[in-house]
Symmetry: C2
Subunit: 118 residues, 2 copies
């Protein structure tokens, strides 16, 4: 009997889409990187939206991209929501009031958000 | 005859995957955001790799994710390259020497890179 040849196991990288399951009652937020003045996070939404009448009003700027799913992002200073599909990105200035009007219910919507000093 | 009802045209957002064509002789880099100490860029590779013997040695840190395609990222301080598939991300410390050993030739590899003060 010969000894098994040891497999060279490569480093398994972290993956954005790991643990993105089909549905969840709660929106899930994962911090991927945190540095002074910079935070990268993943958000997974499945049908969640901002509460009625709620607006995000953030001291930091946010560059955000939808990687999976679909969402409607509404700015208070715009009449109409923006429909975001995979690859669509938006840069949100500090204190520009916005809300998530809707996210897809039939698949998870994966956002990647880069919060930075604006 | 009735006048056509005007369509409400929503704002068309910028898209990461726009203009990602099947193949290009050159690697293409698009700056998506540039702020003091922060730069977000998209890189599209189709078979390109770092020149033989070349190592990136960057003063800034880089958080990078592969969104489409496939790549092999090699660090000088690691024996083996890391295989990166869509969603895989890596945080590269300043001056940690690395190179791209290989990218897929049959489809574009789309990277999103966040360069920041490390």
């Amino acid at each position: 009997m010969t000894a098994a040849v040891p497999l060279e196991v490569g480093l398994v990288p972290d993956n954005l889409f790991a643990a993105v399951t089909a549905a969840s009652a709660e929106e899930r937020l994962t911090e991927l990187l945190s540095r002074p003045g910079l935070r990268i996070e993943k958000i997974v939404s499945t049908g969640q939206a901002s509460p009625v009448g709620f607006w995000y009003d953030q001291p930091q700027a946010e560059w955000v991209v939808v990687l999976r799913g679909q969402a409607r992002l509404r700015f208070e200073d715009e009449a109409q929501a923006r429909v975001l599909a995979p690859g669509d990105y938006v840069d949100i200035a500090p204190h520009r009031r916005h809300r998530v009007d809707w996210t897809a219910t039939d698949e998870p919507t994966v956002w990647l958000a880069v919060h930075y000093r604006g």
